[in-house]
Subunit: 236 residues, 2 copies
Amino acid sequence: MLKYQQIAIEIDKYIEEKKLQQGDKLPVLETLMLQFEVSKSTIIKALDLLEKKGIIFQVRGSGIFVRRHRMTGYISLLANQGFKKDLEDYQITSDIIDFEVRKPTEEAALNLNIKLDNDVYFVKRVRFINGQTLCLEESFYNKSIIPYLNKEIVSESIFKYISEGLGLKVGFSDIYLHVDKLNEEEAKYLALEKGEPKLCVTTVFHLTNGKPFDFSKVTYNYKQSQFFIQANNYFL
Amino acid sequence: MLKYQQIAIEIDKYIEEKKLQQGDKLPVLETLMLQFEVSKSTIIKALDLLEKKGIIFQVRGSGIFVRRHRMTGYISLLANQGFKKDLEDYQITSDIIDFEVRKPTEEAALNLNIKLDNDVYFVKRVRFINGQTLCLEESFYNKSIIPYLNKEIVSESIFKYISEGLGLKVGFSDIYLHVDKLNEEEAKYLALEKGEPKLCVTTVFHLTNGKPFDFSKVTYNYKQSQFFIQANNYFL
């Protein structure tokens, strides 16, 4: 981890510990430099990272302010992608329905940028949050990037294994959302009724080198589907 | 507009015109400097902006690559917030159901950081995309920030008026999503049946100075609810 990332984490902790609220002002740059004993450029990079993450906002000529959302019970949409730690407060468990090495579907091959005769790990599981069905998940992992998975890994956090076990760096992702009605199979796994609402989230995950490694389709139990996104308006 | 923002737009156009695809490599920094006749620092800032916007990704020691999503028919979730231009390809019209100056609800007051006896503009409208119902929208605008609205403005793009007419700078927003079943009133306005799925998007829009100016609740017709999000993984 680089110095400015460490400092960003420390500032984040400082905000938590001081229980700062939306709009609360942080100390000025010079004070932060002294407080964290780092150079101006390190503080600037740390603040830039915190701004990108939606933790602070900076107003030119006015200061650095805390950004907090007000509604509780919403999970970051980016949370279960190993991006954020919101889900750590909840108990997440998984039932594995299917786990095998197979050939990709056409859609998976297209999105993983591989050929139809390449191998993928296919994982189908139901995830539970505090004992209630959270989602039905179908994922295709490019086996040439993720060479090994086993039942123990896929029953826990696959992303934790990918980053910590394989040392791969998860980069950007393309996320597609749509809402529809549950079909019979989905309803069965989610313990809901056919025809009830569902939120479908399809994601293509890429490594920092731009290679897509995971194509996943997740069908959420609508009763558990409360997500938030912190958006920045980058003018273009 | 600053120089680097202009250059970012030009690079974006270049990607469009050359019909570059996901993973295509852009020229190296030095070539871009010559091509756009600007300094290294301007190119770096322009590329940083394009990366934040999900248009390119940069791989250290390897180059600058185009980021493109593959699925068509999905609208950027940030689109109708004046963030992106995706919706310009569609014909969006509005029917105004209610438009008045009133006192905020408790929820609106809390999220707009105002008092219950402050004035807000309340706008309730049904929006149509290519003639079909897209969403039912209820918005509360802080009248001390948006002092004037009229029926003509609210039947078109309120955000265009806010940025171009009032010269205000739209900053970040907090977005909350959940899925549920339509109630009778929502179903009526969306020309759907009670109990069918709905996607609810609640957003608190802030100016760049951090002041919340718009609290809005949008109920989408699930048949039109196809959204994408381009996510960056900023390690923290």
